[in-house]
C-alpha cells in the first residue's frame, strides 16, 4: 500500500496590511483595468504602507499619486470608471473622505440608477477607519453610518486577515461602488495566512459566526470583533456562553445569519465603535426585534461609542466599547425587570 504525502498549505504569519496589499497586487496583475489612486499611494506606499510596492511593480499610471483633493480623487475615479477602468481609491483617513461626500452621494452611489443600469461604476473606495491608534482629531472617526444610509453603496469591513484579502478582491471585482472600511487598528494584527493559496472566504453580503455559543449573541464587525471575542472568553467565567457574529458586510446586511443566531440564543447585543444614535446598531436592533420578538428573552441592547465627537487620543479608551462595557451589558440581559 502506497501513501501519498499531502503537504499542508504553507502558511506563515501575515498582517492584515500585507493581505490588503496582496489583494491589490493580485487584482492588478489579473486585470489591467484595475488602477490604484490616492494621496501618497505611490513612492511612499501609503501612510499605512498598504499600497507598498504597487507603483514600482505596475508603474505610476496604474498606481497614481494624485493631487491632495478627495473630491477630485473620487470625481476623477468616476470618469475613469465611466471609461471602463476599475479604480481603487484610497481615502487616507476616515474623516479625510468628507470633502468627497458630494461626489460619493450625488454621483458614485447614483450613476447606475440615473442611467437606468447603463453605466455601473465599479469603484472601490478604501477608507481606513475607527480609533484605538492614538490618532489626533480627524484621524479616528467611525463613519459607517453615513455610508450605510446611502442607497447604491455597498459597505464592507473585514476583521480578519483572510477577509482583508477575500473581501477586497470581491470588492474590486464588484460592478457596484464599494466602501471598503479598513479597521486601521487591526492593520498589524497577524494570522497564519498564505498569499500563495489564500483561503476561500464567503463573498460580500455574508455574515459569519466566529464563535458559537448558547447564552446570547454579540453582533459586531471590523475593529470590534477581537474585542467581542475577548469578551466572550471572559464571559465564560461568569457562566455565559456567548455567540459572536461578524457581519463583514453592512450593506447588504445578512439578516438571516443574525436572525438565526438570535433565535437560537434568545438574547442579543450589538457592538460597534460609531455612535449609537442612528448608528448601524439601531437598524440591526430594530430588525432583530421585528423578526425575533417571540424568541427574545430580553431587549436587544447596544454597546457603541458615545454620541460625541471622536475624543482626543488620551481619552479615547473611555469612548471605545471595551470588554468590561460589553460584559456589563451582557449582564443586563438577565432582564428581570
Amino acid at each position: 500500500m502506497t501513501t501519498v504525502a499531502v503537504k499542508p498549505a504553507i502558511t506563515k504569519p501575515a498582517t492584515m496590511a500585507q493581505a490588503l496589499n496582496r489583494a491589490m497586487r493580485d487584482a492588478m496583475a489579473e486585470d489591467p483595468a484595475v488602477h490604484v489612486m490616492g494621496e501618497d499611494v505611490g513612492a511612499l506606499g501609503g501612510v499605512f504602507r498598504i499600497t507598498d510596492g504597487l507603483a514600482k511593480e505596475f508603474g505610476e499610471d496604474r498606481c497614481t499619486d494624485t493631487p491632495l483633493a478627495e473630491a477630485g480623487i473620487l470625481g476623477a475615479a468616476v470618469g475613469m470608471a465611466m471609461y471602463g477602468l476599475r479604480p481603487v481609491v484610497e481615502m487616507q483617513f476616515d474623516a479625510f473622505a468628507y470633502p468627497a461626500f458630494e461626489q460619493l452621494i450625488s454621483h458614485v452611489a447614483k450613476m447606475r440608477n440615473r442611467t437606468r443600469g447603463a453605466m455601473p461604476l465599479p469603484i472601490t473606495i478604501r477608507v481606513p477607519y475607527g480609533g484605538g491608534i492614538g490618532g489626533v482629531e480627524h484621524h479616528c472617526d467611525s463613519s459607517e453610518a453615513y455610508y450605510v444610509a446611502t442607497p447604491g453603496l455597498t459597505v464592507v469591513t473585514p476583521a480578519t486577515v483572510e477577509d482583508a484579502y477575500g473581501l477586497l478582491r470581491a470588492s474590486i471585482a464588484s460592478d457596484d461602488p464599494v466602501i471598503f472600511l479598513e479597521p486601521k487598528r487591526l492593520y498589524w494584527s497577524k494570522a497564519d495566512w498564505s498569499p500563495e493559496a489564500p483561503a476561500a472566504v464567503p463573498g460580500i453580503g455574508k455574515a459569519l459566526v466566529r464563535r458559537t455559543g448558547t447564552s446570547a449573541t454579540l453582533i459586531t464587525y471590523g475593529p470590534s470583533l477581537p474585542v467581542c471575542l475577548e469578551a466572550a472568553e471572559a464571559a465564560r467565567e461568569e457562566g455565559w456562553d456567548l455567540e459572536v457574529v461578524d457581519l463583514r458586510s453592512l450593506v447588504p446586511f445578512d439578516e438571516e445569519t443574525v436572525v438565526a443566531s438570535v433565535r437560537r440564543t434568545g438574547r442579543a447585543v450589538v457592538v460597534h465603535e460609531s455612535g449609537g444614535f442612528g448608528g448601524p446598531g439601531a437598524e440591526i436592533a430594530a430588525r432583530i426585534t421585528e423578526r425575533c420578538f417571540h424568541h427574545l428573552e430580553a431587549p436587544v441592547l447596544r454597546v457603541t461609542g458615545f454620541d460625541i465627537p471622536y475624543p482626543p487620543p488620551m481619552l479615547e479608551k473611555h469612548h471605545l466599547p471595551g470588554v468590561d462595557r460589553i460584559l456589563d451589558t451582557v449582564a443586563r440581559l438577565q432582564w428581570e425587570n
Partner: protein, 383 residues
C-alpha cells in the same frame, strides 16, 4: 509692532529664494486677452467657412426654437422645470459641433441644448425635467455624460474619463460645461488642477451668463475675468464672445486640437447672457433691470450671424426659411413626443440600485407590488 518690525519681515530674509525654487512656466502665454475674442463684424470674418457657418446658423435657429418649445411645455405643465439657454445658443451649439464622435460631452443641468445638438433625442434629453427618471439615457450611446445638477461636480468626471482614455491610448477629448457660479465650487478647482497636473485632454467651457440664479458675477468672483483662473493652474485661459458662434467655434476647436495633440487642457470663458429667468420658478425682475436685458438682446447670437452672412451674400431669404422650417419640424416632433404620456413601471424603482438586488430591496419591491395589485383590484371592482 508693525508688520515691518515682525521677525522675518526684513528684506535681508528675502535676499535669496529658497533652494530649488523656480517658476515653472512663464505665465504670459497662458493669460487671456483683455477683450473677448470676436470674429463676426471684424476683419477676421473674411476667413469664415460658408458651409460651416450655414450649418451653425441652422443649428442656432433650431436651438432657439428648442428653447421656446421647452419653455412652452413648462407653462403647459409637461415639464417640471426648464433652465433656458435663450441668448446662450452659440455656446451650446459650438460645444456640440467641435467634438468628434468618439469624444465626450459633460453637460450641466442647463446644457440640454448642447446634448440635443450632439444628437441626443430631444425627448430623452428632457426626461430629467419632465420627471419620469433622473436623466435616464445611456451615456455611452452618444458619449454624453448624464446632465449634472450639482454644480461643477461633472468636471472631475471629464478629467478622469479623458485621463483614462489617454492611458488606454485612445484619441478622445472631453469637453466639460459649467456656469459662472460653478467656478466658485471646490470641484471646479479640483478638476482644473487635476487636469493640468495630468495634462488630460480636457476642455473646460465656462458660460459666464452674468448670474448664478440671482447673484451677479461681481459678487461671485474678484478675478479680472474667469479666464484668468486658468493661469493659476498652468493652463491657457481664453476669453471669447459667447454670442459670436464663429469665435466660439474657432476658440473651442483650437482647444480641442490642443487637447487631442497632447497639449493638455484649456479653460474658455464665454461671455454671454441669460436672456430669460433662471427657470420658470425664478423672477428675474427682482435682481436686474430691463435696460441690461435689452442691451444684450441687441447682441443676439442668431442676429449677429445672420447679419454677417446676409451682408456677405452667404445666406438668403430661402436659406433663412429653410432653417425656420427645419426648426418647426423639430418642435412639432418634440411636442408630439412630450404630449405622449410616458409609460412608467413603478417596479423600476428597485431595478437599478445594485447589480444584484439586496434582500432588503426585494422585500420592499414585494411590498410595492402588493400595493399596486391591491390598487388594480380596487379599480377593477369599481368599474
Amino acid at each position: 509692532m508693525t508688520v515691518q518690525e515682525l521677525p522675518g519681515a526684513g528684506a535681508s530674509h528675502r535676499s535669496t529664494p529658497p533652494p530649488a525654487w523656480r517658476p515653472r512656466t512663464d505665465a504670459a502665454p497662458l493669460l487671456p486677452d483683455p477683450e473677448p475674442y470676436r470674429v463676426l463684424g471684424t476683419p477676421a470674418a473674411d476667413r469664415l467657412d460658408p458651409e460651416l457657418m450655414r450649418r451653425c446658423y441652422a443649428e442656432l435657429v433650431r436651438g432657439r426654437r428648442y428653447n421656446a418649445q421647452a419653455t412652452a411645455l413648462t407653462r403647459q405643465g409637461r415639464l417640471a422645470v426648464y433652465p433656458s439657454t435663450v441668448g446662450q445658443e452659440a455656446c451650446e451649439i459650438a460645444a456640440a459641433m467641435v467634438l468628434e464622435e468618439q469624444d465626450w460631452l459633460f453637460p450641466s443641468y442647463r446644457d440640454t441644448l448642447a446634448a440635443v445638438a450632439r444628437g441626443l433625442d430631444p425627448v430623452e434629453a428632457l426626461t430629467l425635467l419632465r420627471g419620469d427618471w433622473h436623466t435616464g439615457y445611456d451615456p455611452r450611446e452618444r458619449r454624453i455624460a448624464p446632465l449634472s445638477t450639482p454644480l461643477a461636480t461633472q468636471l472631475p468626471h471629464a478629467v478622469g474619463l479623458a485621463h483614462a482614455a489617454r492611458l488606454r491610448g485612445d484619441d478622445v477629448v472631453a469637453l466639460a460645461m459649467v456656469g459662472d457660479g460653478g467656478t466658485s465650487e471646490g470641484d471646479f478647482h479640483e478638476a482644473m488642477n487635476f487636469a493640468a497636473v495630468w495634462q488630460a485632454p480636457v476642455v473646460f467651457l465656462v458660460q459666464n451668463n452674468g448670474f448664478a440664479i440671482s447673484v451677479p458675477l461681481a459678487k461671485q468672483t474678484a478675478a479680472p475675468t474667469l479666464a484668468h483662473k486658468a493661469v493659476g493652474y498652468g493652463m491657457p485661459g481664453r476669453l471669447v464672445d459667447g454670442n459670436d458662434i464663429a469665435a466660439m467655434h474657432e476658440v473651442l476647436s483650437e482647444a480641442v486640437r490642443r487637447a487631442r495633440s497632447g497639449g493638455g487642457p484649456t479653460m474658455i470663458e464665454a461671455v454671454t447672457y441669460r436672456i430669460e429667468a433662471h427657470t420658470n420658478a425664478d423672477d428675474a425682475t427682482r435682481y436686474r433691470g430691463d435696460a441690461e436685458v435689452e442691451a444684450w438682446k441687441a447682441h443676439d447670437p442668431i442676429e449677429l450671424l445672420e447679419r454677417e452672412l446676409t451682408a456677405r451674400g452667404l445666406l438668403d431669404e430661402a436659406g433663412i426659411q429653410d432653417a425656420k422650417d427645419a426648426a418647426e419640424a423639430m418642435a412639432a416632433a418634440l411636442r408630439d413626443g412630450m404630449n405622449a404620456e410616458p409609460v412608467l413601471d413603478p417596479m423600476d424603482l428597485f431595478a437599478h440600485v445594485y447589480a444584484e438586488q439586496t434582500d432588503r430591496l426585494r422585500e420592499q419591491a414585494a411590498m410595492l407590488r402588493a400595493e399596486l395589485d391591491a390598487a388594480e383590484h380596487e379599480e377593477g371592482d369599481g368599474s
